[in-house]
């Protein structure tokens, strides 16, 4: 039985090798924090980390996950203590919340690569879709978590 390392634990998974990691996580491992939004890697609700890099798990087959370190939103911290989770609460980011797991995982990957991201870096990293439109607060929370002041610069010229 293939083994999957998720959030530091090893799991045996019986599923077709082509099953998207998204559905393995949700249905075989009961980790429902990672969400299904579109299935075509457009919305980012399914974002997890594979070896620390953001990956849209609806487009990542189980076979490719062998031997890799998978981190889901459940593994971002044990207790909502990740700086992004703290910032997300402080800024009251989520509304319906469905996109936020993916949003957080993408933001975490961004901060890992760029501990103090510029507005430009935030703009082009955070392409996760949010139907409720929480974008302004997502940006503020990322800046807060990275120790930066709240507001971006809007060039008026």
């Amino acid at each position: 039985m293939p083994e999957l390392r998720v959030n530091g634990k090893l799991h045996g998974v019986e599923a077709d090798a082509g099953t998207p990691l998204l559905w393995v996580l949700r249905e075989h491992l009961g980790l429902t924090g990672t969400k299904f939004g579109c299935g075509i890697a457009r919305c980012g609700a399914c974002t997890v980390h594979v070896d620390g890099e953001a990956v849209r798990s609806c487009s990542f087959p189980l076979a490719a996950a062998a031997g890799r370190e998978i981190t889901t939103i459940e593994g971002l911290s044990a207790d909502r203590s990740h700086p992004l989770q703290r910032a997300w609460i402080a800024e009251q980011v989520p509304q319906c919340g469905y996109c936020q797991s993916g949003m957080l995982m993408t933001a975490a990957a961004l901060l890992r690569a760029r501990p103090r991201p510029s507005d430009e870096e935030i703009d082009f990293a955070m392409t996760n879709l949010c139907r409720c439109g929480t974008y302004a607060r997502v940006r503020r929370a990322i800046r807060r978590a990275s120790g930066q002041a709240a507001a971006p610069e809007v060039k008026r010229g």
């Binding site: 082509g18 998207p20 487009s59 087959p61 990957a109 392409t127």
Partner: protein, 252 residues
Amino acid sequence: MTPSRRLHAAGHPEPRRRSLIRHRRSTTWLAALAAGGLALAAAARAQSEGGSPAARVAVEGPVVGGGAAVGGEAAVGGAAARGEAAPGGAAGTRAFTGIVAVLRHPRCLNCHTTTAFPRQGDDRHPHVNLVRRGPDDRGVPGQRCGTCHQAENNPASGVPGKPDWHLAPLAMGWEGLSDAQLCRALKDPRRNGGRDLRALAEHLERDPLVAYGWDPGAGRQPVPIPREELAMLMAAWAGAGAPCPSAGTAAE
């Protein structure tokens, strides 16, 4: 389940389409290869004498056109493919016309952009999700190419894949170049990753990411001539001294 039909992104002007080149099979490709092999050495020598690099074209914003190749029959097959000598390097030029048609095909040109973003689709719209080249041609922090593109095409999501999916470096950007400019860019080791003609042929014939052009997954037109035929054209072109057209068609 097939991915939903791709429509060009709302609001993006649709580039003018050029008819794809028709391909013809040659039964004497072996002869052409042999001739080409001998000529490669000669051509390599010629190339090492260098030529002026084409001006690097940096294009801001969306580039319209630069799409599929010029229609025309002379390019593929024909005299060059049959290994016939033609007067004054015309065979080589004809071979190159066939090669350039492939280079300008969306499957190639979409990643050989001169911009900070890839294109996608047969209509070559700017890649969705605000995808950017990033500092290392592999996407920006937080949205790397590998965020979505894996080592193989993914039938579940419709996302194409090959190992180490990434953009060709800007120096290898081909958008907006005329045939002549493209030819010079292709041969210039300062712009083509330090490749001689043999390595260039190797790249086109064997590189795993380049293989995508012939295996792009559902809903995408592959490169319209087989990869072996491209190899044959490369050999013919190299065998004729890898001549560049003097001017040739501007790629819009």
